[in-house]
Amino acid sequence: MSLSADVPVAPPRVNLRALGLLALLAVAVLVVPVIASPYVIEAILLPFLALSLAGLGLNLLTGYGGQVSLGSAAFMAVGAFAAYNFQLRLGVSLPLAIVLAAATAAAIGVVFGLPSLRLRGFYLAVSTLAAQFFVQWALTKFSWFSNDSASGVVAAPRLTVASLDLDAPQGRYLFALTLVVGITFLVHRIVGSRAGVNLIAVRDDETAAKVIGVPVLRTKLVAFAISSAIIGVAGVIWAYAYLRTVEPAGFNLDRSFQVLFIIIIGGLATIRGAFLGAALIVVFPLLLARTSSFAFEGLVDAGVLKLVERVVLGLVIILFLIAEPNGLSAILGRATARLRAVLRRG
């Protein structure tokens, strides 16, 4: 309390937050690549980054915009296959391929976003299932997309940007991290802008928004476009950096639900929620596997473990929906507020 006289309270809090983020970023860029083993990068960090980005994209649409979508995996697939085909057929560089893939996903996102102009809630969610099934069907049916590969599974091209070879785990991690950080900053700008305010207005009361002159149609379609573009880039990371193969199988309805669960558990309409939710979804199965092998010493086989994982995850989601609808983000917010109060007192 004695400090409050010469230290104004409000401005430093903002700086503290920015400093904290900067420190986190510094650790992620400078420390993690040095100390993280290839296993940690490949089994935890890469899927975490890809799913965080997908969650971020979906959160823009569903959390901020109120448009429920079950088509996330479809847009991931579109991004991955588009990048692959742009590189294969036009011979463009990887960065350009990513931009084009994002644009392709955005265009397809707008098409499947059109029903949102008429449908709401559950009905919209069901109509986005059309995207999920259609895209997966098209990618499986037309072997052109996977360059007529017999198995439908193609190896992703080597990760090179300019003359930089990023194919090692560290390189793939930094590649994914760069994309995720850049896009997260963009999303931060979007949700803070007037357009972001429009998005929330449309979510909270569409009729009122329309009557007072918020461009509802445009807001929804732009949300679908940007969200799909981001999820498309997440698909590129998933296929290029994490799996290192491009195949339709991984982008199924399960994945779409997984991305939806990430933002529900992490916190709807928050940026950090996507990261917190993705961390839980990625780390939880690994923890469970470790615990079971430690506690039961191999008595539980992998199939049973997978089942247990699903049951527990389902319970976690139900728990969150009942006890903390605002997700991990709200829990973290309360924890930091308490910590701050303790620090100030001490």
Partner: protein
């Protein structure tokens, strides 16, 4: 389009200074004219051949028992319902169906019977949403923080602060609107409508749920807004005392039919109105 640009001045300014004079652009034509509006839902005829007009600068009340069609009428004027017959004429333009999404551009704003604020936004963001219709900077300019977008936002913030000060809610602008007391939310709803500087303002039960003190405050605001900006106001309200006190003319609806139309004094004496609505004790 003949928009009267009459800015609300800061609350401290004295009335009667030049800022408050009514622009003359729309004083000739009525602010709103309804001609033969009919509306039915299935077999129920909610509105039958309703015609009336609102003069610029007039406070025009619509009263009637529950289910008389008052809100339906406002929803027709807002473009939320499509009339089966009749036209809505606003500032010289006639519409068979009002385009809801262009309402603000035409110079019409409204508040809602059951608050239709955006609970996830602050009071300031709610009010600023009332300016979305005229915003020019696109998403990219906003995200990149181009100077045009930034100065537009700054201008909007200034207008929001002005209207909030005028309505006495300047202190809660940064609060999430869902955390505000009901009476304050009603003021935010009014501010969101007013910030667009409409020529026609529709207030759907602005007093509902307010305490006596809040009602008096709201009535004072409504009158002050009219006096300062010269906009036309359609007032739907159940509190008959407020209506008699505030309005210049009153239209009375009953079962979708306009049964009377006139000044408060005329309405108070009208036998039809007394029978249908006011009841014996008002006679």
């Amino acid at each position: 389009m003949s928009t009267t640009v009459v800015r609300l001045a800061a609350a401290g300014d004295a009335p009667g200074s030049g800022v408050f004079s009514v622009a003359a652009a729309t004083t000739s034509a009525p602010a709103l004219a309804l001609d033969g509006i009919c509306l039915s839902f299935g077999g129920i005829r909610a509105l039958r051949d309703i015609s009336f007009d609102v003069a610029p600068g007039e406070i025009r009340a619509i009263i009637g028992p529950n289910g008389a069609g008052k809100s339906s009428l406002v929803n027709v004027i807002s473009g939320l319902y499509r009339a089966d017959a009749g036209t809505v004429q606003i500032a010289g333009q006639a519409f068979a169906r009002m385009p809801a999404s262009r309402l603000a551009k035409i110079g019409v704003a409204r508040t809602f019977q059951n608050l239709a604020l955006f609970p996830g936004l602050t009071a300031a963001q709610n009010i600023a949403s009332g300016l979305a219709f005229r915003r020019r900077s696109g998403l990219l300019a906003q995200v990149l923080g181009l100077s045009a977008a930034r100065s537009e936002s700054a201008r909007e913030d200034e207008e929001v602060r002005e209207i909030a000060a005028f309505l006495g809610i300047g202190g809660v602008l940064d609060r999430l609107v869902s955390t505000l007391p009901y009476g304050v939310q009603k003021q935010v709803d009014l501010a969101r409508a007013l910030v667009a500087e409409p020529n026609l303002l529709m207030l759907d039960e602005p007093m509902a749920g307010l305490t006596v003190t809040e009602k008096a405050e709201m009535a004072a605001h409504i009158r002050a807004v009219r006096d300062r900006t010269g906009l036309a106001i359609i007032l739907i309200e159940h509190d008959i005392g407020v209506v008699m006190e505030l309005s210049d003319r009153i239209a009375v609806l009953d079962h979708g039919v306009k049964i009377a139309d006139g000044t408060p004094v005329e309405i108070r004496r009208d036998p039809e109105v007394i029978r249908a609505y006011l009841g014996a004790e008002a006679a």
